[in-house]
């Protein structure tokens, strides 16, 4: 069995093995193997190519952009997604605009350990995908499975553009697969994670698993819920979403991030503008509450969507 976290480690090992242009840079990623052990053993296996960085996110990302201009393919680990805000300027103004302004590609991968876990609090829990997706010039990946964590990270390194790789900390240890994949769904394509005909849930990252659990529960009542895993939120596979809504007539978009202007809002906007006639009921969405992510598990458990609250929303959608 291989975990989601091990898949991320394995993908980085393969990237280092296959391509001498790849190096890894981030705080404590060297001998220590990273705060979550995503680079465990790599510094030893690839001497001089897995480097500990100072606590300087702006410089870490800025230097990766410089190295990419010179033809390297850096993989950057932010210790937590939340700290990428300190490097925000380099990401959204430098990396995201480089190719558009100069035709020089910027093949950097920025790994963001994302999302909430119990007790992590406001600064170690954030889901930042929407923020980065907002900026033209970035690809934003949000893998929800062990297989995708592996194949999408390899793809991220191979792509000639800056990729924000949002890996979910909640999935690190307990999400397991039999083995690593040998082939992958193309980047930019969503995946139908569960087929159904009564309603469509569109989701991504850790919320895929809450949604699947909810679909399973409703199946025992006879409902057939289709669950779509977006995989990459930018680009967003509108075709797969619309095709599903065409079959079910009902849409619930679920995300762990804050509600204002995020992925779920985008999904609903696209379906409402491009597929309004496909809808049998007003589309719905479910997100975290619009407050910072709370520390205590009692609050955190309510702050983000869960299989239970998704089921409540879905029942309303089905009866609408």
């Amino acid at each position: 069995m291989i975990t989601y976290l091990e898949a991320i480690r394995e993908a980085q090992a393969k990237a280092l093995a296959d391509d001498p242009r790849v190096y890894i840079y981030g705080q404590d990623v060297g001998q220590f193997g990273g705060a979550f052990k995503a680079t465990k053993g790599l510094a030893k296996e690839y001497p001089g190519r897995v480097l500990d960085a100072p606590i300087s996110e702006d410089a870490i990302i800025g230097s990766a952009i410089g190295a990419a201009i010179e033809g390297m393919r850096p993989i950057i680990e932010m210790q937590f997604a939340d700290f990428s805000t300190v490097g925000f300027n380099q990401i959204v103004n430098q990396a995201a605009t480089l190719h558009w302004r100069t035709q020089i590609p910027c093949p950097i991968t920025i790994r963001l350990p994302s999302g909430g876990t119990a007790g992590a609090g406001p600064f170690h829990s954030q889901s930042m995908e929407a923020l980065y997706a907002h900026y033209p010039g970035l690809v934003v990946m949000t893998p929800a499975t062990v297989e995708d964590a592996y194949s999408m990270l390899l793809e991220a390194v191979a792509i000639d553009d800056p990729v924000i790789f949002c890996e979910h900390k909640y999935l690190y240890y307990h999400l397991k697969a039999e083995k690593l994949p040998t082939e992958a769904v193309p980047t930019g394509k969503a995946r139908i994670a569960r087929q159904g005909r009564d309603a469509t849930i569109v989701t991504y990252s850790a919320m895929l698993h809450e949604s699947l659990a909810c679909a399973e529960e409703l199946a025992s009542e006879g409902w057939e819920i289709e669950v779509i895993d977006l995989r990459t939120i930018k680009p967003l596979d509108t075709d797969t979403v619309l095709a599903s809504v065409a079959r079910t007539g009902r849409l619930l978009a679920v995300g762990e991030a804050w509600p204002w202007g995020g992925v779920t809002a985008e999904v609903i906007a696209r379906v409402a503008t491009e597929g309004f006639a496909l809808l049998d009921a007003p589309p719905m969405r479910l997100n975290a509450k619009d407050t910072p992510v709370p520390f205590h598990p009692n609050l955190w458990g309510t702050h983000r969507p869960t299989a239970k609250t998704i089921a409540v929303a879905l029942r309303r959608l089905l009866s609408a």
Partner: protein, 345 residues
């Protein structure tokens, strides 16, 4: 908030030193005892999330806070339990925040070391390292605007935080404005697993003072008397118009980065070096050596600390936890602009 500690001069007489040393020692001991309790609670699954301890840094931390007065501003970081206590934070603020009590200052919304009472001059740190420095500079700017004189702001950071942009920008801004700010850097040789050799290339962090145009001080962070003395001088200099003061303390983090970390990466030679000495043990030896206290009095102090800690924990364990149904999900002060924890369904 601050304990009534006389502002002493470098020529403090022995009885003054004795009194300050004993006061400092009591806070250090209380900090050590509560931290050991926190570690035990963590191991027992009573604390969710991280536990970050300041073992080995109590002398520096307490000296910073004891050099401050009521009305000053203090921005402690993750290893400042001793300084927090000396500045006036209660044990209950600590235990309640760690365990998420609804009655704590953070009401379960934030946890562990992310706590404070800004109204009382105790800043509530965010995780992003270095970020508190410009914020404290701002509190001091505000005091200047408001015509409040004679107060100081102290910011504690680690060696790792010196690499942040916020450190550079904050210290430079404070220097340009000649603010009464004391920046205390605990160089505990590591930032998580990263040794100082991967953090900065200057010989000595105190050399940075020259570049920023601020006064620099070095101190042995394992030596309580030295810490009391140097922090006192730095704070007095800031208070009397000397502008920002950069204090660099040398010591070693004697625990893991957090309680989840066994710190196996720490160089054994460092542990055995003078940097690896335990400031609390050294202070205790000094107390006995100078006959400032007796073994039995020390024993009583220990028991008293333990009793206070047990009481705080017992109180906290009886208290209500946050309740999502009655929680106020409005993040704004301007309530009518709040979308009410807006959830679209």
């Amino acid at each position: 908030m601050v304990q009534a500690t006389a502002v002493s001069t470098a020529s403090a007489d022995t009885s003054d030193l004795k009194a300050r040393f004993l006061t400092a020692f009591r806070w250090m001991l209380l900090a050590r005892v509560v931290e050991e309790k926190l570690a035990a609670l963590y191991r027992g699954g009573k604390i969710t999330g991280g536990v970050f301890l300041g073992k080995g840094q109590e002398a520096l931390s307490v000296a910073t806070a004891m050099a401050l007065r009521k009305g000053d501003v203090f921005a402690p970081l993750i290893r400042d339990q001793a300084g927090r206590l000396a500045f006036g934070e209660t044990l209950l603020d600590c235990t309640r925040t760690y365990m998420g009590s609804r009655l704590g200052p953070m009401r379960g919304r934030d946890g562990n070391v992310h706590r404070g009472r800004p109204k009382e001059g105790l800043m509530a740190m965010i995780s992003h390292l270095g970020a508190m420095l410009p914020v404290v500079a701002g509190t001091l700017l505000a005091r200047r605007f408001r015509g409040v004189e004679g107060t100081v702001g102290a910011v504690n950071l680690g060696d790792g935080a010196t690499s942040t942009g916020a450190f550079h920008e904050g210290l430079n801004l404070a220097a340009v404005e000649k603010l009464p700010l004391v920046l205390v850097v605990a160089n505990n040789q590591y930032a998580y697993s990263t040794p100082t050799s991967r953090q900065f290339a200057c010989e000595d962090l105190v050399d940075k003072a020259v570049g920023y145009g601020v006064a620099g001080h070095s101190v042995d962070g394992t030596n309580l008397e030295a810490c009391l003395d140097v922090l006192d001088r730095a704070v007095t200099a800031a208070r009397t118009g000397g502008g920002p003061q950069l204090v660099i303390a040398s010591l070693l983090r004697l625990v893991g980065h957090g309680e989840h970390d066994d710190a196996g990466y720490v160089d054994p030679a460092l542990r055995k070096s003078p940097l690896g000495a335990d400031c609390l043990e050294l202070a205790e030896q000094r107390l006995l050596h100078e006959n400032w206290t007796t073994s039995s009095a020390l024993h009583e102090m220990q028991q008293d600390a333990q009793r206070q800690v047990e009481e705080a924990v017992a109180t906290t364990l009886r208290e209500p936890l946050p309740d999502p149904d009655t929680e106020d999900w409005c993040p704004l002060a301007t309530r009518h602009l709040c979308e009410g924890g807006y959830s679209p369904t």
